[in-house]
Amino acid sequence: MIETDIIIIGAGPCGLFTVFEAGLLKLKCHLIDALPQAGGQLTEIYPKKPIYDIPGFPEILAGELVDNLLTQAAPFKPGFTLGERAETIEKTEDDFFIVTTNRGTKHRAKNVAIAGGLGCFEPRKPPVPHLENFEDKGVEYIIKDPTFYQGKKVVISGGGDSALDWAVYLTENNIATEVSLVHRRNSFRGHPDSVQKVIDLSEKGRINLITDAEVIETHGNGKLESIVIDQKDQGKVTMNIDHWIPLFGLSPKLGPIADWGLNIDKNAIEVNTVDYSTNIPGLYAIGDINTYQGKLKLILCGFHEATIMVQSAFKRIYPDKNLVLKYTTVNGVQGF
């Protein structure tokens, strides 16, 4: 069991800044994020995009902002549970929360701050009928262990880097016996080197490159046995395969949080702006995931919400202690 003062769900900018503000009050934080790295959508969607409305930074790249926030939080030694999704929450008799991830990691704290942004990023699933019947039975959205495909007939769909790179990897390392890459267009948006490699391997007959095509059906009895590919010129073709790996990027979903008994309005959690508390005492929501009258989904507003929220979290842990605002210019930053 991981013990801390504030469990922060979501390691985006808002969650990271919470660590700093909580640290100034000598509260410890532990962050949980479904993605394998910190930074949330800044790292996942637009690391190279400049942001112009962070006070004091006329221009900063999203990725740089995340690096700075990690540096700023470092003195307070935050814990991280990355690559795991916060799945369930329960309240104990002594008024603590226990948050458990999809992999069973348990966290215990007096306070939980949901800084989940857009939700958790999950693989985008192509609109093929009855696809769910074959999930983990021949259809995988993420390649966890490439050796799993040893000696198999594999079809990968997608035109981005992950589709190209995995097609090359499974071929060059002689893992899969047959690799096909199906893509809707005849050009690829992946890195030019990867595109060239795929074309070279295709010319050598080692990758079966099928462009202007989409997988439209999946068939099998208990597990995936064949797919139907619709190709612009050739029409529908059935292919017998062992695995289909659609790689169409990630999209955010509110996920399990939706079932935590919170008041939710249009995919956002309703909060009281006095301290950004939700309808469940000790459970707070800050940043893009919350909503209130006049809400703006801006990083700078999330920073403000985090700062106010930790004061209330402190009071829940130390109801008899009075807090005095201290300026970092006076005292500096006293890390743990």
């Binding site: 959508q41 969607i45 699933k125 609109p127 035109g159 169409f248 990027g249 955010p252």
Partner: protein, 107 residues
């Protein structure tokens, strides 16, 4: 203040005729959001998520697709020849009378 008329057909087939300002540097994604039509606009308009995927149903001369938009539509589902990302269609006088239909969102 420049105003044009835009028709947005939502995912249940209902047509909404919207007054759209041309002097507020808005795009189609933002216009839909401002009328609370079900367009997510997850990435905020950077052509990075395809959640504002829509079909252009009228014969308008539209600005050409950037490589970013083309690449993003590449990852989207239910793409047709008249597919565009709403966030890349900026409201200008030339778009007066534009008719679009919101695309299905995938899972």
């Amino acid at each position: 203040m420049g105003m044009i008329k835009i028709t947005v057909i939502d995912r249940v087939g209902e047509a909404h005729e919207l007054d759209a300002p041309t002097d507020m540097s808005m795009n189609m994604m933002e216009l839909c959001k401002s009328y609370e039509l079900p367009v997510e606009g997850t990435c905020g308009g950077m052509a990075m998520c395809a959640s504002c995927h829509m079909y252009v149903k009228s014969e308008h001369d539209l600005p050409e697709m950037s490589e970013d938009e083309e690449n993003m539509l590449d990852q989207a589902f239910f793409v047709e020849d008249n597919s565009r990302l709403g966030c890349q269609l900026h409201l200008t006088d030339e778009l007066d009378g534009l008719v679009v239909q919101l695309a299905e969102v995938g899972n």
